[in-house]
């Protein structure tokens, strides 16, 4: 059966090589004209060599991602060490970001060269990163999961394919395009239509965070743009998780007379919820590291956001926005401080990603319903 189908299977993609394929596969070995014994010995040697070189060659390339990861950690760490020594804990807790007086000569403190008065407190950026990502996940997760549920459980095949295309396009639109949309269209729209409503929320706990002055650029706008960017990631992951739920378990629940919503909540939900945590954390990782879109929509303010609408910035947006300013620091400390910021960001996203993958993996291994997991 496979024999009949294999030519068809590779037909459309390997058209260029097709004329060669009818030849015997053994022809590839050298010395085809020699005696049979010598021929097979040469072939065996050739096979061993080609096998080993393939193994080592591909093995070498497969180490590259690991090496790149390690190299990035080392590069950032080495570059950041003077900045870490100079900034100390103030980098994580302080709120003043100043390149110092670049005309005031270079001072040396603890062996680190720096302009007079340089002070780097990145707490506003770290807080901005966490706040905007939190908004993104709070808004994006329910939307992505709800849409994925409808997509898998109710949407007809063709509709599901079309919506799948929508998800892909949203995931593929360059972040600079989404950023410009957020800056010119979405942010002003929010300030004109949504924020006036939100700002008149009753003055009770939780809802009162929405009260206050607002503008088109800032924390909430940035968080919502981030939400749009992580929705496709979470939705695609949820969709794949839901598609792995075996039909038989759903049929069993249906046979008990449950409505489709009850079937979902009793069967599929339990099946996928572990994976959903992982999907959410993966989306969170993406939101933490997003740079260009947030740089455009956040209002680029190196201080803490004054309220939920306030302008702010994130670590990633600072790195991309402050390079020109940092390069003008003759002592080089500013560039090293940006490396420290990148290191903090790398560590945060590393932790988030590793945790997410552990959760996804564990939930995949110990699927919460035993039925069907064994095959």
């Amino acid at each position: 059966m496979d024999d009949e189908q294999s030519p068809a299977a590779r037909g459309p993609v390997t058209g260029a090589e097709a004329p060669r394929s009818p030849a015997s596969p053994l022809e590839d070995a050298p010395g085809a004209g020699g005696t049979l014994a010598a021929d097979s010995r040469a072939r065996a040697r050739w096979q061993a060599v080609s096998h080993r070189s393939l193994q080592w060659g591909t093995g070498l390339t497969s180490v590259i991602p690991l090496a790149a990861l390690a190299a990035m950690l080392v590069i950032l760490l080495v570059e950041a060490i003077p900045a870490i020594r100079y900034n100390g804990w103030y980098f994580l807790t302080g709120s003043t970001w100043s390149y110092g007086n670049s005309y005031g000569g270079i001072l040396h403190t603890g062996g680190v060269a720096h302009p007079a008065g340089a002070r780097y407190g990145a707490w506003p950026q770290i807080a901005g990163t966490l706040e905007s990502s939190a908004i993104a996940i709070i808004v994006g997760l329910p939307i992505a999961v709800g849409a994925a549920i409808l997509l898998v459980e109710k949407a007809p095949r063709r509709v599901a394919a079309a919506i799948g295309l929508c998800i892909e396009i949203l995931a593929g639109v360059p972040s600079v395009v989404i950023g410009l949309w957020g800056l010119f269209v979405f942010g002003p729209w929010l300030a004109r239509h949504l924020y006036p409503v939100l700002a008149h929320m009753p003055n009770v706990p939780i809802l009162n965070i929405f009260r206050g002055p607002y503008g088109p650029e800032g924390l909430l706008a940035g968080g919502l743009v981030l939400a749009a960017m992580i929705i496709p990631i979470i939705a695609a992951t949820t969709r794949d998780l839901l598609r792995q739920v075996p039909e038989t378990t759903k049929e069993g629940a249906e046979a008990l007379g449950m409505t489709s919503a009850e079937v979902f909540l009793t069967v599929q939900w339990r099946w996928v919820r572990g994976g959903l945590v992982g999907a959410a954390v993966l989306g969170l990782g993406r939101a933490l590291g997003e740079t260009i879109a947030i740089a455009l929509v956040s209002g680029s303010n190196l201080h803490l956001a004054s309220n939920i609408y306030g302008t702010m910035t994130t670590i990633a947006a600072t790195i991309v926005g402050q390079l020109d300013a940092a390069q003008s620091d003759p002592s080089g400390l500013a560039v090293k401080t940006l490396a420290e910021g990148a290191l903090v960001l790398l560590v945060i996203t590393l932790v988030v990603n590793v945790v997410a993958r552990l959760i996804v993996r564990r939930s995949a291994r110990g699927a919460s319903l035993p039925v069907g997991a064994g095959f």
Binding site: V13, I233, D240, V360
Partner: protein, 345 residues
């Protein structure tokens, strides 16, 4: 499974006079409707930004569109995007070469040679984690190590290397998945004919895995075209046509045009930012559609059953192998990979 559902429906048919949902109370029906209503709202909120963004991009560019963007280079006060378009294609070419070398090689090793040792788990995890690292961190490392450290300056090669590493997880993952989905019978048949493992791989296995690998590669390139942050730190920008060399000369690219031209005083330059945005979205959509086309073409010709045993339908297996459409990605991989692993062995 087909038998099972057949039995079920036969039972239902065999009980005439009993309405299937007779036992469902109005309250439960209401709750059911509310549940799916909320899901529908979520779906609307997912689709709305897509339509809105595409509408913004197309309308914004249509009002200022001029074809001379393909023939003129950008200047400080106007011109076209020829230098950025050629630069983006040049960078994409380099990224394609580098990332397919690393990614396909890595995928082959992980699927064919690595097995399930501690080391291979480490390699797989590193590849997956790499896909979660912010692109700005890639860019800044490239800036420190390649642009400054190796004195390459802002130029094409650092940008290509950084972008290739950024997207290599997608290619590696899709290669590994595609190879794992090739029917065992192909390998057994080849080995029964006395072919070496390398030859089996090259002549039989790779051929049926090519669509899956290609899909991953296309998605990877689509991602790399849309990147801005790593390029600002590695490629710089140039208003003149790229010399198609690798070192010491800055390269223009489309995302930079969108990123910096939008707030320039000249209206002609602002128009370029919008047009660059449209070109980017157009390129990404073309890439996504072509990867879908590959999946559809090969699904039509793919064998009905993949691998021996397992109740999972082959169509689903093929889908999970070939679909790398979730750009966010490799995200799904741990689940998909390990469960497919269970299904296969």
């Amino acid at each position: 499974m087909a038998v099972a559902s057949g039995t079920l429906s036969a039972t239902a048919d065999g009980a005439p006079g009993i309405r299937r949902d007779a036992a469902i109370s109005p309250l439960r029906r209401l709750r059911n409707g509310a549940w799916w209503g909320v899901c529908g709202l979520a779906m609307a909120l997912l689709i709305a930004p897509v339509v809105w963004i595409v509408e913004y991009v197309v309308r914004g560019a249509a009002s200022v569109w001029h074809w001379s963007i393909f023939t003129l280079d950008s200047t400080g006060v106007g011109g076209g995007l020829r230098n950025a378009i050629v630069g983006t294609l040049w960078l994409t070419l380099g990224v394609g070469v580098l990332t397919s070398l690393i990614g396909i090689g890595s995928g082959i090793f992980l699927a064919e040679f690595a097995g399930r040792s501690v080391f291979s788990t480490l390699l797989r995890s590193a590849t997956e984690v790499l896909s979660g690292i912010p692109s700005i961190v890639f860019g800044y490392c490239g800036y420190l190590a390649l642009v400054v450290g190796l004195h390459w300056g802002f130029s094409a090669l650092p940008a290509m290397i950084v972008l290739a590493l950024l997207v290599v997880p997608y290619v590696a993952k899709s290669t590994e998945l595609a190879l794992n989905q090739v029917p065992l019978a192909y390998r057994e048949g080849g080995e029964a004919l006395g072919m070496s493992k390398a030859l089996v791989l090259r002549r039989l296995v790779m051929r049926s895995a090519i669509p899956g690998i290609l899909t991953g590669l296309i998605i990877a390139l689509a991602i790399s075209i849309g990147e801005t942050a790593p390029l600002i730190y590695t490629a710089g920008f140039s208003n003149s046509l790229p010399k198609l060399d690798l070192l010491h000369n800055q390269v223009g690219y489309l995302t930079y045009a969108s990123w910096t031209f939008y707030d320039q005083p000249s209206a002609a330059v602002q128009a370029l930012a919008k047009e660059a945005g449209l070109l980017l979205v157009f390129l990404v959509v073309v890439f996504i559609l072509s990867s879908r086309l590959i999946v559809r073409m090969t699904q039509r010709y793919s064998p009905n059953r993949v691998g021996g045993g397992g109740r999972r339908s082959a169509r689903r297996a093929a889908r999970s192998a070939l679909r790398v459409d979730n750009l966010g990605p490799v995200s799904v991989s741990p689940t998909t990979a390990s469960q497919d692993g269970i299904a296969r062995h």
